[in-house]
């Protein structure tokens, strides 16, 4: 009897539990999944919660609901992984032996990395929307806010869902227009990169959105400090930007468990083979989703595509066959542009997002890199797909794990 242990029951871990419980013979391999939390959050919903588009109950369900029968869910905190001895050491003293380990512990915000970010103004006039608590307190703030300088800010790359802060700016524009107070709000988008858009095709297709929505952009801003007293952010070069309301995306890091276990890099991401998803150091450890250091976007769609390939590779590993070097960094993301419209982007390690049709070349019905209502409906429908199709590891028809080049205008 072999034992396979999955660390983390978020999007990636839950999908792997479902895939593998279908594929593996229960007589030969038992599957455990460990997560200290009770709730599963639909993280794309954090974008909509602040604007009263979603309610908290739309985006929170119990982890247990999505773990298949035959997979043991352990609701405990992990102290450490001892990769040399193939052991997971639990905080309650239990020791769990594994033959295969899947790390799916995700990424989270680390506001303490920037001086003053988690200061007196945290969740008063300085907010994140990458946590449930942050998104909810921001919603309450926005409901009563009377206007002023709204600064939407990215600390440093990489972050989960790199387009989310841009979407937040677009949705804020719509939100304040609907509240008939857009003239009282100045929106500034602050990025450490050289532009709001950094890929040539997307810049050409989308740069007009910022002007249309009257969003100011500050580029190359490497934040050194949040000045709570004077309500401004200051960069290492001495540039200062004042705010009345700061919505920031703090530094993102992998789980501290990786640091405690000596498995992570300086941001606690696990060094991983970008084509096979095997750990670079241990053959019986695999990494999926935001927890890895592969140069793909940290997004649910990436985890979904990875899950199909990783499942195949786990089966090959058990049989002693060579692993498939197939993952191409495929990501597929809806991008809200406000006013009931959205874009769709589809890209991988080597191809930047371009215009075209999806999923059927020449037909669509979704348009790549172009605003449409249909794309927005797609994004809203996606919540249902997430809870009912994606987490269960069901293949989404016509959408393949590796990126298709046809139907795209390169």
């Amino acid at each position: 009897m072999k034992r396979l242990v999955i660390l983390g029951a978020g999007t990636a871990g839950t999908m792997m539990a479902n895939h593998l419980s279908h594929e593996l013979d229960k007589e030969e391999c038992e599957i455990d999944i460990i997560d200290e939390r009770e709730e599963h959050y639909y993280q794309p919903g954090y974008l909509f919660l602040p604007f009263d588009i979603y309610e908290p109950e739309d985006i929170v369900k119990s982890i247990r609901e999505f773990i298949p029968k035959g997979v043991r869910l352990l609701n405990d905190k992990i102290e450490k992984v001892d990769a040399e001895k193939n052991l997971v050491l639990m905080e309650n003293g239990d020791r769990l032996h594994y033959d295969i380990l899947i790390i799916a512990t995700g990424a989270k915000i680390a506001p303490e990395e920037v001086e003053g970010m988690k200061g007196d103004e945290w969740h008063r006039s300085v907010f994140d929307f990458y946590t449930f608590e942050g998104a909810l307190t921001l919603r309450n703030k926005l409901r009563e806010w009377e206007g002023g300088k709204l600064v939407v800010h990215i600390t440093e790359m990489p972050i989960k869902c790199p387009v989310a802060p841009l979407e937040f700016s677009f949705l804020a524009d719509s939100y304040f227009k609907n509240k008939k107070m857009r003239d009282k709000v100045e929106i500034t988008y602050v990025t450490p990169l050289s532009g709001a858009f950094t890929k040539p095709k997307a810049t050409a297709a989308l740069d007009h959105l910022l002007q249309e929505k009257n969003i100011k952009v500050e580029t190359d801003f490497a934040i050194a400090e949040v000045d709570n007293e004077n309500k401004k952010i200051i960069d290492y070069g001495g540039k200062e930007i004042e705010f009345d309301l700061l919505v920031t995306v703090p530094t993102n890091k992998g789980d501290e468990l990786m640091e405690r276990s000596g498995l992570g890099d300086e941001l606690n991401y696990v060094p991983t083979n970008k084509a096979t998803l095997q750990s670079q150091k241990y053959q019986n450890i695999f990494v999926i989703g935001d927890a890895s250091n592969i140069p793909a976007s940290k997004a649910g769609s990436v985890a979904h595509f990875e899950a199909e390939i990783l499942t195949e590779n786990i089966l090959r590993y058990i049989k002693g066959e060579p692993l498939k070097e197939e993952f191409d960094g495929h990501a597929n993301c809806f991008v809200e542009t406000g006013n009931g419209k959205a874009l769709l982007i589809d890209f991988n390690y080597t191809h930047e997002p371009v215009e075209g049709e999806f999923p059927f070349p020449g037909v669509g019905p979704l348009r790549l890199l172009k605003e449409s209502r249909m794309n927005h409906m797609g994004k809203l429908a996606f919540r249902w797909i997430y809870w009912n199709v994606l987490l269960k590891g069901t293949h989404i028809p016509f959408v393949s794990a590796t990126m298709q080049e046809s139907g795209k205008h390169f």
């Binding site: 790359m157 790199p162 990169l193 050289s194 950094t198 890929k199 250091n293 993301c333």
Partner: protein, 102 residues
């Protein structure tokens, strides 16, 4: 597009960033530094070598991270490559400017 550096055609993008790292060598780095009006010292080279190593490992670069690398602190990084240090240093190093997904 192409640009002639040291008598050789080099692949670059519209902003002058090299798009094919295998074409880079020290002499080209010196030439790109001259264009940016930066005389390269051994400290500059230590930083350039570090960011090239990170690029080869496919690790995303940021100013904060370079400051924590132990190779250079942020104050010195700004004094070596004034104004927009990451932009300038990546350009001289022959690697792409740090980017997002769109």
């Amino acid at each position: 597009m192409e640009k002639i550096i040291m008598g050789k055609p080099i692949e670059v993008n519209e902003e002058g960033y090299m798009t094919n790292f295998s074409q880079w060598n020290k002499e080209i780095g010196e030439e790109l530094a001259k264009e940016a009006h930066i005389p390269l010292s051994s400290r500059h080279w230590q930083v350039i070598n570090y960011i090239q190593d990170e690029y080869k490992k496919e690790v995303p670069l940021s100013i904060r991270k370079i400051g924590k690398s132990g190779v250079v602190d942020i104050k010195e990084f700004y004094s070596l490559f004034p104004n927009a240090p990451l932009k300038t240093a990546t350009k001289i190093a022959g690697i792409p400017k740090p980017a997002s997904c769109i």
